[in-house]
């Protein structure tokens, strides 16, 4: 570990303290969105919507979920890139912090990836 000057003290610590809760929060949110979509898909598979009205409503429900994921993607990508740069070459207090960021980043990117592939097709009878 390097000796730090006083004005640069805790740069890594501050970053980790800010980034990790954000990453946890958005990983959970994205996973929840994916689960909601999967539950809806399962429900529609079990009982396919009947008629034009039901099908349209089902489609709207899935599209709304997809839209929620889509709205997050740009900011989540930015967060991912900032964390990635810290992992790659940032000044952190310990290698354990770097490992923690790597793990959190992998979880967040997995969740984002799953959210980008939400299936919005409606099962038909």
């Amino acid at each position: 570990m390097t000796t730090k000057t006083s004005d640069n003290k805790d740069v890594g610590e501050q970053f980790v303290r800010a980034a990790v809760p954000l990453m946890k929060e958005y990983t959970e949110k994205l996973e929840k969105i994916v689960k909601e979509a999967e539950s809806l898909q399962q429900a529609f598979t079990k009982t396919p919507p009947k008629g034009e009205h039901q099908t349209r409503r089902a489609q709207e429900q899935l599209s709304r979920i997809e839209e929620r994921a889509s709205r997050l993607s740009s900011a989540v990508d930015e967060l991912n890139r900032r964390v990635s740069q810290m992992i790659e070459q940032g000044q952190l207090d310990s290698e354990l912090q770097r490992v923690e960021l790597k793990l959190r980043l992998a979880e967040l990117e997995n969740a984002m990836n799953a959210a980008q592939w939400i299936d919005t097709t409606i099962p038909t009878e």
Binding site: R81, R82, I87, Q89, G90, N113
Partner: protein
């Protein structure tokens, strides 16, 4: 030459680049189409793999050749780190697929191994290995947050010297990582060592040339070539500038100005050489 091109010069660059690149690719792709049409049983086109450390312009290049780069709306030299493996098709006839691997060290273990293994199996016609004589763009981070900046006493000059050295080492590490796959590829394969950001190191171009051709980099290439026959491995160098821009951090801190006197004429000439070299390698592979 001003450090930052004005909007009108950016637009001129756009037009010049599109004018330059489109006919070159049209020429190659038209020829390919004729060949493909004459042999309907031909297997699908093999792909081109682009790899290298982060911040060396791999995705920018892939976007340029797929005509997906808009100089009017994009910040020249701006760096947006690629998170995963990306695919592009070379414009305009969409016959050559390009696969770009993310360059950050911590992404290599999870995303590189499987793709590199496919070099052995012949998935790729060729590999473009990107380097920048250590002038790798910093992503969304300030230099004040860098471990290396702290190690260099928070002084910019020693930091930059050490930063460029460490990034050149990383370029060698990537080549060493690639080496065994190129040596054991089951098919003929070409490699194009693409050294970009010429506008940043133009005044040191003789040193750059020596570094890649005669230094450890060149020795590794020679070693690969010795293990393969001339008919099954071909290597070329191309030195180029994809965009003319100062090297800055993601927080807009100026790290190095582009070289005074390096202008559009040199850039266009470098891109022409790069495209011609790439085209000739694709043709070489086609004849195998």
């Amino acid at each position: 030459m001003p450090d930052i091109p004005s909007e009108s010069s950016i637009l001129r660059e756009l037009k010049a680049l599109v004018d330059l690149i489109s006919p070159i690719w049209q020429r190659f792709t038209r020829r390919k189409k004729t060949e493909r049409d004459s042999d309907s049983n031909e297997n699908s086109q093999r792909e081109v793999l682009i790899l290298g450390p982060g911040g060396v312009g791999k995705t920018t290049f892939a976007r340029l050749i797929s005509l997906d780069y808009d100089f009017r709306s994009e910040e020249p030299g701006g760096y947006e780190e690629s998170i995963g493996i990306e695919s592009f098709t070379m414009a305009p006839d969409e016959q050559v697929e390009v696969v770009v691997l993310p360059g950050q060290k911590h992404r290599r273990a999870s995303s590189w191994t499987e793709v590199l293994e496919q070099i052995k199996g012949g998935r790729f016609a060729g590999v473009m290995l990107f380097s920048a004589f250590g002038h790798h763009s910093l992503g969304e981070i300030s230099i004040t947050s860098l471990e290396l900046f702290e190690k260099c006493g928070r002084k910019k000059r020693p930091f930059l010297s050490t930063y460029f050295d460490s990034k050149r080492q990383d370029e060698l590490d990537v080549l060493r990582n690639l080496q065994p796959y190129l040596e054991t590829s089951s098919n003929p394969i070409w490699m194009l060592s693409t050294v970009v950001k010429q506008d940043l190191w133009w005044s040191d171009r003789q040193e750059v040339d020596r570094h890649y051709r005669e230094g450890d980099y060149g020795k590794i290439i020679e070693s690969i070539a010795r293990k393969r026959s001339a008919a099954s491995f071909r290597h070329e160098f191309a030195f180029a500038s994809l965009v003319i821009a100062n090297l800055t951090s993601g927080e807009d801190e100026l790290l190095k100005k582009n070289t005074a006197g390096y202008g559009q004429a040199q850039q266009i000439a470098s891109l022409n050489t790069l495209c011609e070299t790439l085209g000739s390698l694709l043709e070489w592979e086609k004849l195998k």
